[in-house]
C-alpha cells in the first residue's frame, strides 16, 4: 500500500487500475477528462494492461463498453453532463442487457445555459435508467468505490451496471492524501469477471434481442429485482472490503449524529462535510442537528431513510438539482420512502449549488433555521432575498 496526494479523478483512476478493466473506452469531457488521461498513462507505462479505445463520441464510448462486456470482458468508461445525456440511450441499453459495466460520472451541470461546473442534474436525471448510482464524498471513498463497483455490479444476484458519481470540480479536482492498495490486496478482493451473459463459441448466443408484450414485463421485473438485490450485496461487499483494506463504509446511507436528532439535512456528495461541521456548531448551541449522506441513490435506501427520519421534527433535503416543474429529485425519492413507511414528518427541499454555485456554511445554517421555523416546500438557495427573485 502506498500513500499519495491525489485529486478525486486521479484517485478514482487508481481504483480502476486496481480493478483490472480489460477494455477502456475513452472520450474527453470536463471535468472527467483527467480520469481517462491517467488511465492512458497507466496503459503506456504498463501498470495497466487494457485495450484502450479512443472512441469518437460518448454514445460510442458506452456502446463500445457494452460490446466489450458482451464479449465477457470487464469494461470501463467515464463521462459527464452533456456526454452522459448523449449516451442516455445506451444507459438503458446496458442496464436492460444486464451488463455490469462501471462508469465514472463527474457530476456537472447540463446545458442550457452551458456550464462546466459541478451540480448533480446530469446523473439524477438518469435515475430511471437502471444503473446502480453511488455518490462519493472524498477521494479515498472514490478510489474505494471504484474497486467495490465491479464486485457489486458483477455479482450474480445483481448483474447491473454501476455509475460512480463524483462532484464535478469540488471532488474531481481537489486533492487529498489517499491510501492506494496493492494489486495483491485488490486481486484478493476482486476476482476476474465470470458470466454466461457473453459471446461463447462453444454455446453461441443471440444477445440484446427483442421481447414482445408477452415477456417484456418479465425481463423488466427481473432487471428491477437485480438492482434491488444490490442493497444486500453492497453490505456484504463493504464488510469484505473492511476486512481486507481496513476501511469501513456504512451502506446506502451514512448517518451523522442522527440518533436523537430533531432536525436533519439529507444530502449527497461532498457538501456533506460542511453540513456535518454546521451540525456540530448547532449542537454546541443546543440544537439537535444531524446529517444523512445518501451514498447510493439506486438502489434507493427506502428503509434507511424511513428509519432515520421517523422521529425528527423536520428534515431538509439539500440537493444540487431540480426536476423542472416540480421539485428536486432526491426530495421526491425521500418523501416517497416516508410515505411508503407511513411516516408523516415535515420535509423541505433546498436546491443549491446549481452550475457550481458555492453553498456556504451560512447557507446550511440557514437551512436548519428555516426548517425549524417552517418554510416553503421547495426553496432555491440564493433566491428569495428582497432583490433576488421573490
Amino acid at each position: 500500500m502506498s500513500r499519495k496526494f491525489l485529486s478525486g479523478n486521479e484517485a478514482f483512476a487508481e481504483g480502476i487500475r486496481l480493478a483490472r478493466p480489460q477494455v477502456i473506452s475513452a472520450y474527453p469531457i470536463t471535468p472527467q477528462t483527467i480520469v481517462v488521461e491517467r488511465l492512458s498513462e497507466m496503459v503506456e507505462d504498463g501498470s495497466l494492461k487494457a485495450e484502450y479505445v479512443h472512441v469518437e463520441s460518448e454514445h460510442s464510448a458506452l456502446s463500445c463498453a457494452i460490446g466489450a462486456s458482451a464479449a465477457g470482458a470487464r469494461a470501463f468508461t467515464a463521462t459527464s453532463s452533456q456526454g452522459l445525456l448523449y449516451m442516455a440511450e445506451c444507459l438503458y441499453y446496458a442496464a436492460g442487457g444486464r451488463f455490469p459495466i462501471v462508469m465514472m460520472n463527474a457530476d456537472r451541470s447540463t446545458a442550457l445555459p452551458w456550464n462546466i461546473y459541478g451540480d448533480q442534474r446530469d446523473s439524477l436525471s438518469q435515475l430511471d435508467s437502471g444503473w446502480i448510482q453511488s455518490y462519493a464524498e472524498n477521494a479515498q471513498e472514490a478510489l474505494d468505490l471504484a474497486l467495490m463497483s465491479y464486485k457489486i455490479a458483477e455479482d450474480k444476484r445483481v448483474q447491473t451496471p454501476y455509475m460512480a458519481n463524483l462532484d464535478g470540480f469540488v471532488l474531481t479536482h481537489t486533492y487529498e492524501t489517499v491510501d492506494i492498495p496493492t494489486h495483491e490486496q485488490a486481486d484478493k478482493f476482486l476476482p476476474s469477471y465470470v458470466t454466461d451473459n457473453r459471446i461463447d463459441f462453444e454455446n453461441p448466443k443471440n444477445m440484446a434481442f427483442s421481447a414482445g408484450p408477452d415477456t417484456n414485463y418479465i425481463f423488466k421485473y427481473k432487471e428491477h429485482k437485480g438492482l434491488l438485490a444490490a442493497a444486500e450485496v453492497i453490505g456484504e461487499t463493504e464488510k469484505e472490503f473492511a476486512e481486507i483494506f481496513g476501511r469501513h463504509y456504512t451502506g446506502l446511507t451514512e448517518n451523522y449524529r442522527t440518533e436523537d436528532a430533531e432536525y436533519i439535512i439529507v444530502t449527497l456528495g461532498s457538501i456533506a462535510g460542511l453540513c456535518r461541521e454546521t451540525a456540530d456548531k448547532l449542537r454546541e448551541n443546543g440544537v439537535k442537528a444531524g446529517v444523512v449522506r445518501i451514498r447510493y441513490m439506486r438502489p434507493f435506501p427506502n428503509k434507511e431513510i424511513a428509519d432515520v427520519l421517523r422521529n425528527v421534527r423536520a428534515y431538509a433535503v439539500l440537493e444540487k438539482d431540480i426536476s423542472f416543474g416540480n421539485e428536486g429529485t432526491v426530495f421526491t425519492n425521500v418523501n416517497s420512502a416516508l410515505k411508503k413507511a407511513g411516516i408523516d414528518v415535515k420535509g423541505y427541499n433546498f436546491i443549491g449549488g446549481l452550475g457550481g454555485r458555492n453553498i456556504s456554511a451560512a447557507d446550511i445554517e440557514n437551512i436548519y433555521k428555516s426548517i425549524a421555523k417552517g418554510t416553503e416546500s421547495v426553496n432555491f438557495i440564493g433566491i428569495g432575498g428582497e432583490d433576488n427573485g421573490k
Partner: protein, 97 residues
C-alpha cells in the same frame, strides 16, 4: 448447425432468462404459412448447378444426393429459385392446403 425448431415454445416467469441473451438458433415458429405458391423441384432435370441453393434468401434449399431439396417449413414461396434456374427445373405451384 442451422437454427432449428425446438420443443419448448413458451417460457414461464422463471424460465425467461435473467438477461437478454439466449441460446443461438432457437426457433419456435415456422414460415410455411406465408406461402400462396410453393417451388417444386424436378429432380430429374436438376443438374446440381447450385444456383438456387446460393440465391435463396432464406437458405431453405440444400443439396441432397446431388439434387436440390427444399425445407418447406421455412420456404416463403418468393420464387427466386424458379426464376434463377436456367434449365427451368423448378416450377411454382399453388400452395396445397
Amino acid at each position: 448447425m442451422r437454427p432449428y425448431i425446438r420443443e419448448k415454445k413458451d417460457f414461464s416467469f422463471s424460465e425467461v432468462p435473467e438477461n437478454t441473451s439466449f441460446e443461438a438458433g432457437y426457433l419456435t415458429t415456422v414460415n410455411s404459412g406465408w406461402r400462396s405458391i410453393r417451388p417444386v423441384i424436378n429432380t430429374e432435370k436438376c443438374v446440381d448447378c447450385e444456383q438456387c441453393y446460393l440465391y435463396c434468401p432464406d437458405g431453405v434449399i440444400s443439396i441432397k444426393d446431388g439434387k436440390a431439396a427444399i425445407d418447406y417449413d421455412f420456404c416463403k414461396g418468393c420464387g427466386i429459385c424458379a426464376k434463377i434456374c436456367k434449365i427451368k427445373a423448378i416450377e411454382m405451384e399453388a400452395e396445397r392446403k
